[in-house]
Symmetry: C2
Subunit: 466 residues, 2 copies
Amino acid sequence: MSRRVAAPLPVALNRESADPLPRQLADSVRSAVHRGALTAGERLPSTRALAADLGVARGVVADAFDQLIAEGWLTGVRGSGTFVAAGLRGSIADGASRAADVAAPANIGRPAIRLDTGTPWLDERLRAGWSRAWRTVAAARMPAGYPDPRGLPELRAAIADHISRHRGLACAAGEVLVTAGTAHGLALALEAMPSGPVAVEDPGYRAAVATIASSGRSVVDVPVDQEGIDVESLAAAADDVRAVYVTPAHQHPLGFAMSAGRRVALIAEARRRGAAMIEDDYDSEFRYDVAPLPALAQLDPERVIYLGTASKTLGPGLRVGWLVATAAFVDDVGGRRDARHDAPPWPAQRALLSMLDDGYLTRLVRSARRQYATRSQVVQSALAPFGELSGGAAGMYATLSLTRSTAARVARRALADGVEVPLLADYCRTARRGGLVIGYGGVSDVDFASALNIVVRELRAESAGR
Amino acid sequence: MSRRVAAPLPVALNRESADPLPRQLADSVRSAVHRGALTAGERLPSTRALAADLGVARGVVADAFDQLIAEGWLTGVRGSGTFVAAGLRGSIADGASRAADVAAPANIGRPAIRLDTGTPWLDERLRAGWSRAWRTVAAARMPAGYPDPRGLPELRAAIADHISRHRGLACAAGEVLVTAGTAHGLALALEAMPSGPVAVEDPGYRAAVATIASSGRSVVDVPVDQEGIDVESLAAAADDVRAVYVTPAHQHPLGFAMSAGRRVALIAEARRRGAAMIEDDYDSEFRYDVAPLPALAQLDPERVIYLGTASKTLGPGLRVGWLVATAAFVDDVGGRRDARHDAPPWPAQRALLSMLDDGYLTRLVRSARRQYATRSQVVQSALAPFGELSGGAAGMYATLSLTRSTAARVARRALADGVEVPLLADYCRTARRGGLVIGYGGVSDVDFASALNIVVRELRAESAGR
């Protein structure tokens, strides 16, 4: 990236205004980026130089910069200065068209920005890969007849390869079943498993609980701590619990990785009670601190049914995911599937095959990983003052622990300003945790910055009010 | 179509051969079409002229022509002569590549030709429409987030329009839910309906029975006659039967249309017992005798859940269909769908929208209707000597009634020659009907002709043996 020192900033501060000076300065810089007077990669003057330039205390500039970094407009690189963040100009256009959507009658009442945990950021610079995949479908003939209920053979092989490269989980094409995503994979797996209640993490992934409940099974809630599902509580559950649904790579929604010790204990407990484990590995392509721990499925391939998805890399609209288990289980699930005929469409499978084959998906993952790592840092620096943060080392969301009432007030006020933030309480069934789950995948840089700004403002108001 | 009288046929008959003269003549004509010496639309000499030409009895030529018409190589138009059938040259290439597939190791043991009832014929001349639709997807951005579980709003509106034009069933976009096909639509409908057994037609559609059984409900078999489901038998069923699954437009697999009187009686019975009706209208775009009767859903829109599919027009690999019911029911089904996240992929929905919008689907239906009408005639003339035929007035299959043992022997021998023909017995649960279900959609002209030829040969052998 080419970087040049910015010309003297086009800033006019009004000392008579009721607005504090740091906010005035932040507003000026934000608006300069907005109208293109400051562009991506430009280096800003040092706080010392700018303070001297404007005739204000250095703390005023430092506060303004901190705010803008928290909002994502600027990035601070320790030891080498402060820069205008990349990718903002394209995002401003995105923001404008989104605003136009919201203004349309059909969208009245819908929040302008949703910080949800399930929508990925897609690097627009890689768009050609998407087009290439669908042009392959356009040029192909769809095979006559019903597709193999286990999925296209070539796609199953490509997914096996993808999982082994990205997750170190060695598996064969015959052990892969193509699904419509992790919730669908869970539903299919449950149909092929002995009846009885299913143990889940609490707090946990809401869609999975809904899937289990709609399969007619009861749900047994097991508490979670920083190491993962509480195996002692699981051991105390009734004997007829023969299935456990877990998110070891990135506990949903607390964001912890299950520790190695806990994995061993969980497998021992599952063996003791003759239970199967369902491992939902929904976003494990994205990890920013250390290499991910091996999948649970690697430790006990006979007992673990592994679920993955393209929803977190290509978007949930594609509705393609995978289930990895023994070939016998995969064939059994495939056989049952005839009753619904709900194997993913051939074109969607063919397109994903092309995206895997030509490296598009790998490039998309690599680029999103960089973006999330940056956003995770921004969330960390913006929210750490207000409570304990977890989950930022992986995936596309972080969870801020707060009291339930504080979280509810902040979420309500943010919503009034057009920002929807999920409450941790909504992921709890018997657990009594409070907090906010800040998803930062499916938003543009500008939306991310403004939404985070609003959340920070409300958190500040809470701190001040206490 | 340009038609010219064929030059004297390049035929040499060998009177010393053990092969009967009609077969020798048929072989010569078939091979002339194969190598292009006779081309589509060419008129053949009259039986009288050709017999004189070759110095054989007129019956020899008539027999040979009958055989070739039965095989689909020739078409006989009453009063205007005999012609080489259209579309044979392209199909010969298809046949060759299929043969290559079958020779590949992975395909050993798979029948060369499947006369199944569920695969459509697609007019290759219209291919550009398919490509256009997927290029639209290639150029589009997939919306972020999970798709509306009821389907894309624009697609729901386009389907409502399609159904009202092709089926005269007036409905609004809000009454349409996008599914993965009729079996999937049935599964979704059952989830939203009160529990209890479901009455089905016997013989009936096997996938529907599997869907009902896998939903945990019991299946109540109701006999079928030429007018449709036997309403008196239904009236005798237990009171807790509150749902009836029927195929009124084209009873699967017998092929009768439900009579108007029976429709009225069925609705009266459903009202009496407070039951819902599920109308599977799987192939009603294709009707060759008279305009189709209005959908059952038109007679009682509050009580009938209507299911349709693109599988029978675009192919089952697309996995898109629709359910039409009250808006309240559609919204309820959409809400439940969150538990599986199995709405069709956005790209498949977007592509179907394009195919509906630009008239591709309508052109495909029109062309396939012509093709099926011709094939239906061919089947009629080839198989009528062997038993009662039903179902040829619509759709893409006809059913030949035979004793169960005759049907089983013919099917077994045909399979040994690489042709798979479904047995009527396989669609029966308590009914004791025998016969063959001859699907003529998903095959090339040449495969259709050879498969029919083999079935006719085995039926002849049966007649001779008796």
